[in-house]
Symmetry: C2
Subunit: 234 residues, 2 copies
């Protein structure tokens, strides 16, 4: 049973670390969204958390409410809680997120779900601009427009020369975003896991989000010494 | 020099851990806001971070971009970066926030600043309700309205039987909030530090926010064993 618990009223889910991302999408009721776009990536939820998320334009760590870890020393450790209000301190969830495996494996994961009455999944060719010949990041993300003025999609990424966006929220806002972004509507999720037969890491590769370029068999960012201490203490 | 660096264009500031909160407010240019309301609390920025913030209705940890720590063993450790984009993993900033001193002291702090063309500071008597005789939390926070429908203030707290709110953002949204909240406009910051001559901790006391009730000489939440390991490793 990869999906262990789903609470639409309290807006969270608990799933095993090996749950594929698209299985989470399939299990969710209409109007609730996970903190990742409708794509498959290597390693399921554990892989996603170890890499610090994918494609998000928000702080991913805040969406991970709790974790059960298997530490590098083989210990099982519980971090965080199950409800949003539990974020009260002593935060060992956040260092795991984006730790590229240095702190171990996520055995189970509690994710915050967010409501939205509408959603849209779009793609369009990436346009080169004079300032950024690659066209990346797009101008409406380079400019720091306050959230109430421009519409920033929840997720934005590039695959080869195509730009993808997934957004959800209030129907009017989603529609405004659809018009501003243009392109064509995607009617099904995308499986990117076949792009990474040797693992998904950081490097020159086919996928790009606001944090990294992602490469097959790519690297882990260099581990700071203090983080190494933490890893060996857990 | 408590305020060490201020970058309005990149929207961050760096200040020493002992900087009083209201000194940060005084140093900021019009239209940029820190992740705390215009109040003074014990221990300056270091105290605020150790307690995990005050009054916020958002994830406070995401607003702390970087830290220089003096660890319990007396080492100096750098965590995080200086710019928003730097949140890429290996996150040792977040465990410090809300650690109630277990991981040491913040020597200097890099905070994200957020823009807003308008702001309002309000207070009104706290109304008891049948479900919650104390009237806390207020009904518009108990209901999970999506952010695009209701207006949730950035900061909300209670002092004795008075409810305080501080909000900033788009002028129209701020005005909508002012009308919804009612009460009267505060025209100056509030100094709460005199309420806590024996230190600000968790317990039955005069101040309350969505996370804790705060008491003079109050306690620290119990330290999980795994966090103790982290503290002794740093």
């Amino acid at each position: 049973m990869p999906l262990l618990e789903l609470s639409p009223s309290d807006q969270y889910l608990i799933a095993s670390g090996d749950t594929p991302l698209l299985e989470v999408w399939e299990a969710l009721p209409l109007g609730l969204f996970p903190p990742f776009p409708p794509v498959e990536l290597p390693g399921g939820l554990n892989g996603l958390l170890q890499r610090g998320g994918f494609g998000q334009t928000f702080f991913f760590g805040a969406e991970v409410l709790g974790l059960t870890l298997k530490t590098p020393q083989g210990r099982t450790v519980q971090a965080g809680g199950q409800v949003v209000k539990n974020v009260q301190g002593y935060d060992l969830v956040r260092p795991f997120v984006g730790s590229f495996g240095a702190l171990g494996e996520a055995v189970s994961v509690t994710l915050r779900l967010r409501p939205g009455r509408a959603s849209v999944f779009l793609r369009r060719p990436l346009e080169p601009t004079p300032e950024a010949p690659s066209g990346w990041p797009p101008s409406y993300l380079r400019e720091r427009t306050p959230p109430e003025v421009g519409v920033q999609p929840r997720f934005l990424w590039q695959h080869e020369s195509t730009l993808f966006a997934f957004h959800f929220g209030h129907p009017k806002e989603v529609e405004r975003f659809r018009q501003a972004f243009g392109g064509e509507v995607m009617d099904s999720p995308v499986d990117y896991s076949r792009l990474f037969p040797h693992g998904m890491g950081v490097g020159v590769g086919p996928l790009r989000d606001l944090r990294f370029s992602w490469a097959d068999g790519g690297a882990k960012p260099p581990l700071p010494a203090v983080f190494q201490k933490l890893a060996s203490a857990l």
